[in-house]
């Protein structure tokens, strides 16, 4: 089940510069575990030690913030698009 994951600029050091990568998983947690196998270190930037999503990184399933769905347990389907969006403060 292929899901497209859009990677923000500050996390592209984990994906060899790729702006988008493919992953698989029935939930967001499984997807991040799958990404970790090919992009070591990326999961830690997104997920707390207790398994919850980090509060300062936003993850969108299509255009919905997963905090308002089921968080790290949010279910995924074939063809979904996941966007990782970190806070930036530049001005």
């Amino acid at each position: 089940m292929a899901i497209e994951v859009r990677i923000p600029t500050i996390l592209r050091s984990y994906t060899d510069g790729a702006k988008a990568v493919q992953g698989t998983g029935g939930t967001l947690g499984e997807l991040f575990a799958d990404l970790e196998t090919r992009h070591p270190g990326i999961r830690e930037r997104l997920v707390e030690e207790d398994g919850d999503l980090r509060r300062f990184v936003n993850v969108y399933l299509n255009d919905e913030d997963v905090r308002f769905l089921d968080g790290i347990s949010t279910g995924l389907s074939e063809g979904d698009s996941v966007t990782i969006l970190p806070a930036v403060a530049g001005g």
């Binding site: 600029t9 050091s13 270190g41 969006l85 806070a87 930036v88």
Partner: protein
């Protein structure tokens, strides 16, 4: 979702004003009523930098009657690549005064009020109280949370924009009608995790792309025109040239605008956001050297290994003699520690001393207890030791 106009119309436009604003007046959605609302509007722009420059210029040109500018900084040469409200002859001047002069040159009918002070919990409520709407052009998390919380407490619309390299984000936060900044980002990232524009860079024209979204939204909210960007986040990618939108929901658990808010008055935002992590502060204590100390070590042939933890393109601009480059992430993500010498004194440095303090914490916890870092970074080095070299 459309919203009613924020501002009542001014009594009239003068003949000169009608001539000046004629291209607005013949748009049916703006018309006389909309232009009179702009004339009556009081807009505060926090910062006259990258985002503030285009925002102030276009707000003035559009005929906003009163523009406030919060800015305490001076114009630096490195600002001119993007801060188009300032010019070459303004270098060294107060940014607030330089911005005021540009605004008055574009529109002498706009009244400009300068607030030449650093915005903080002690002055923000009093300053904001005099305005209808706040445009945010600041460059750090602490001020953004401060501006948000003050806007929620005062029920003011907060037109927000943020930029980094080729990426921009913008939204309108207005707790009466939708979410606030904390609904979108409940907590700031840990210090050092997200580079600032001074560390990571920013494409100059990106300021105009995002600043123009902010001004568009300010005009729409002031005049009650169109669909404001309330409850939506616009994400701009200059490299792909795409605008994407995601929903921003009002968080019932939000600390400041939720059902049971825990933040009911302003807090200590520097402490909330941190500047340097506690680990880095601890590591840097008694392990920070000055540029003169480093110069002395070099002159006396001390056995040192100077490690520059910046990025390659920063190293290319300016570096300290003898320093070798090992970017910060190579320490944070693992394998750079193996390349460190056991028989030399390790001196870390970055641009200003923040990133090197973070790396120092990693080294200390790996057992390199003698390692030190250079306070003030390469900028401090150039200022004190090699002033002929460029800074950035």
């Amino acid at each position: 979702m459309s919203l009613p106009p924020l501002v009542e119309p001014a009594a009239e436009l003068t003949v000169d004003e009608v001539r000046r604003y004629s291209r607005h007046l013949i748009i049916p959605d703006v018309g006389m009523a909309g232009q009179k609302r702009l004339k009556n509007a009081k807009v505060l722009c926090v910062g006259a930098g990258g985002l503030g420059s285009p925002a102030l210029l276009y707000l003035a040109a559009a005929g906003v009657g009163t523009l406030g500018i919060v800015e305490f900084d001076e114009v630096d040469e490195s600002n001119l690549q993007r801060q188009v409200i300032h010019g070459q002859s303004d270098v060294g001047r107060s940014k607030a005064e330089s911005a005021r002069d540009s605004v008055q040159e574009i529109n002498p009918y706009t009244r400009v009020i300068l607030h030449q002070e650093r915005l903080d919990s002690s002055n923000v409520m009093e300053i904001f109280a005099g305005y209808d709407l706040i445009v945010d052009g600041t460059d750090n998390f602490a001020t953004r949370y401060l501006v948000n919380d003050a806007c929620v407490l005062l029920n003011k619309p907060y037109v927000w924009g943020s930029i980094y390299r080729f990426d921009g984000q913008a939204s309108v936060f207005w707790s009466e009608h939708g979410p606030c900044y904390r609904c979108l980002y409940p907590e700031p990232p840990p210090p050092g995790m997200v580079p600032s524009c001074a560390e990571g860079g920013v494409l100059g024209v990106l300021c105009a792309s995002v600043g123009s979204i902010q001004v568009t939204e300010a005009i729409k909210v002031l005049t009650g025109t169109g669909e404001p960007l309330v409850g939506r986040l616009m994400i701009y990618d200059a490299l792909e040239m795409t605008y994407r939108q995601v929903k921003v929901r009002k968080d019932p658990e939000c600390a400041v605008c939720g059902k049971n808010p825990s933040v009911t008055e302003l807090i200590d935002y520097e402490a909330f956001c941190g500047v340097v992590s506690e680990e880095a502060q601890e590591a840097a204590r008694d392990a920070t050297i000055t540029p003169r100390q480093l110069k002395e070590w070099l002159d006396t042939g001390e056995n040192v290994d100077i490690i520059d933890v910046r990025e390659p393109n920063e190293y290319e601009i300016v570096s300290i003699p003898g320093a070798r480059l090992v970017p910060k992430d190579e320490f944070l993500m693992g394998n750079a520690l193996q390349g460190l010498p056991q028989d030399k004194k390790i001196v870390l440095h970055c641009k200003t001393g923040v990133r090197s303090a973070e790396v120092l914490a990693v080294l200390k916890s790996a057992g390199f207890s003698d390692a030190v870092h250079l306070g003030g970074g390469v900028i401090g080095w150039v200022n004190q030791i090699e002033p002929e070299k460029p800074v950035y």
